[in-house]
């Protein structure tokens, strides 16, 4: 395994583009090293992207938030303003693994690993997050939901890597939340994950995005479900419709972590619970 420590994204791209075999980028390493130790996958070329300028920064400007690709979960949780504006995104990241894993794991790594159960992804989708992708032909902006295309697969082509993560600017009366279901209290992979991002006006929901994880090959954006709560004050009727739509949207599998029946049912339960938290947060923002 070759190990590289490029100083810029351009250099990283060039190394990735000029090599053959299995190429992996190393940020937090919490997926790459597990695969290495478990003999699931040994890269031929490993490109450590933590030494590129700016990758550890969290910044804010007129376009919103910009999160460096090597920012760890712990660093996100410790950023008070980010945690205040995007509690759902931050808590989703915070749920990944242990305190130790939080010291290393990154949100972009979580996205690019391509796991259907990734905790970080539904919250990013519901947040309308985008990423900058750098490749041999320059950079492009991509919506987060367009990155994963199937279990372990992304839409990134040879030589490309994500070079920054962007979250929209927040206005008042907006809030998000993320809940996942796991059998224990910690340390498990989500059996179902649900993110809800809301905007309210006079207690009325005027914008909503709902996303589910671990119930399909990639995280889902539930447009129909979101419509069921837009225009409501999240009354029981709206919640029940949201729940039904969430369950209906599921295309899960039976596996060691859960059954189709279980995942479908719990997706509905989580959708309700998550929406309530997001709604309460949005109201508290006033």
């Amino acid at each position: 395994m070759e190990y590289h420590k490029p100083g810029s994204f351009e250099e990283a791209t060039t190394i990735a583009n000029n090599n053959n075999g299995i190429i992996r980028f190393l940020a937090g390493g919490t997926d790459v090293l597990v695969q290495l130790r478990s003999d699931i996958l040994t890269p031929d070329v490993l490109i450590d992207i933590k030494h590129i300028e700016g990758v550890k920064d969290i910044s804010y400007d007129d376009d919103g938030w910009h999160i460096g690709i090597a920012v760890s979960g712990a660093e996100m949780s410790e950023h008070e303003q980010l945690a205040k504006e995007w509690p759902g995104v931050v808590e989703a990241m915070d749920l990944i693994g242990s305190t130790q894993v939080q010291g290393r794991a990154t949100l972009v790594g979580n996205l690019c690993n391509g796991s259907p159960a990734a905790d970080g992804v539904p919250s990013l989708i519901s947040a309308r997050a985008q990423v900058t992708v750098t490749g041999p032909n320059g950079t492009r902006m991509v919506n987060v939901e367009d990155i994963p295309i199937g279990p372990g697969k992304t839409s990134l082509s040879k030589g490309e890597l994500v070079s920054a993560l962007h979250l929209p600017k927040r206005t008042k009366n907006q809030a998000d939340a993320y809940l996942r279901f796991i059998p224990r209290t910690e340390m498990d992979i989500a059996v179902v994950g649900c993110a809800v991002n809301l905007e309210i006006e006079n207690d009325l929901i005027i914008n909503a995005r709902v996303s589910l994880g671990a119930v399909a090959p990639t995280a889902l954006l539930l447009e129909t479900a979101a419509k069921k709560i837009i225009g409501s004050k999240l009354d029981d009727r709206a919640l029940n419709q949201l729940s039904q739509e969430a369950s209906k949207a599921c295309k899960p599998i039976d596996d060691k972590r859960g059954t189709i029946r279980f995942r479908t049912h719990v997706a509905g339960v989580l959708a309700k619970r998550t929406a309530k938290i997001a709604y309460d947060r949005a109201r508290a923002e006033r």
């Binding site: 395994m1 070759e2 190990y3 190393l26 390493g29 919490t30 090293l33 597990v34 290495l36 130790r37 478990s38 040994t42 490993l46 450590d48 933590k50 760890s72 712990a74 693994g97 242990s98 305190t99 130790q100 894993v101 010291g103 290393r104 209290t185 910690e186 340390m187």
Partner: protein, 159 residues
């Protein structure tokens, strides 16, 4: 085999080692530097027995490559005591019988020391969640949690 030369700092001392790119920092600490306090319980970041601090950040050393240690500052269980004076956490763990077999103890001590630095007054729930990545199969955690809570209290009272 492509070995890389790594310069790093462990428990305040400058050290160097050669390691294969695939070797984890845990392997390097144990096999190259003879620091066997950190243990491999799983190799996949699920048990916390290999906990160390990397630039003061709590991590699993099995999820860090040896080559990534270049220029970093590492803290291990061997660096917790000050000479013959044990850290109050170490004292309390012995006093409270907060260990049985002791294999998870180094990782738990490194993790709890990091917790108390960050949060000197944690609730029981905070301690339990902070330590959720440190598996202990012997104790049921009861005496560990009590030892941590009471050490935190003693340290607060002393300061």
């Amino acid at each position: 085999m492509n070995k890389i030369h790594v310069n790093t700092e462990v428990n305040g001392d400058d050290v160097e080692f050669l390691c294969d790119t695939r070797e984890t920092l845990l392997d390097a600490l144990r096999d190259r530097l003879n620091l066997t306090g950190a243990k491999e319980g799983c190799g996949t970041g699920d048990c916390g027995a290999c906990s160390i601090t990397l630039d003061d950040r709590l991590v699993c050393s099995c999820l860090v490559l040896g080559v990534e240690a270049e220029g970093k500052s590492i803290g291990t269980v061997e660096g917790i005591a000050n000479g013959e004076d044990l850290h109050p956490l170490q004292q309390k763990f012995i006093e409270y019988a907060a260990l049985q077999c002791g294999i998870c103890t180094p990782g738990i001590l490194v993790a709890t020391e990091a917790l108390l630095k960050k949060n000197p007054d944690p609730t029981e729930t905070e301690v339990r969640y902070w330590l959720a990545g440190n598996l202990c199969r012997c104790t049921g955690y009861d005496k560990i949690i009590r030892a941590v809570m009471d050490t935190a209290r003693d340290l607060r009272e002393a300061s």
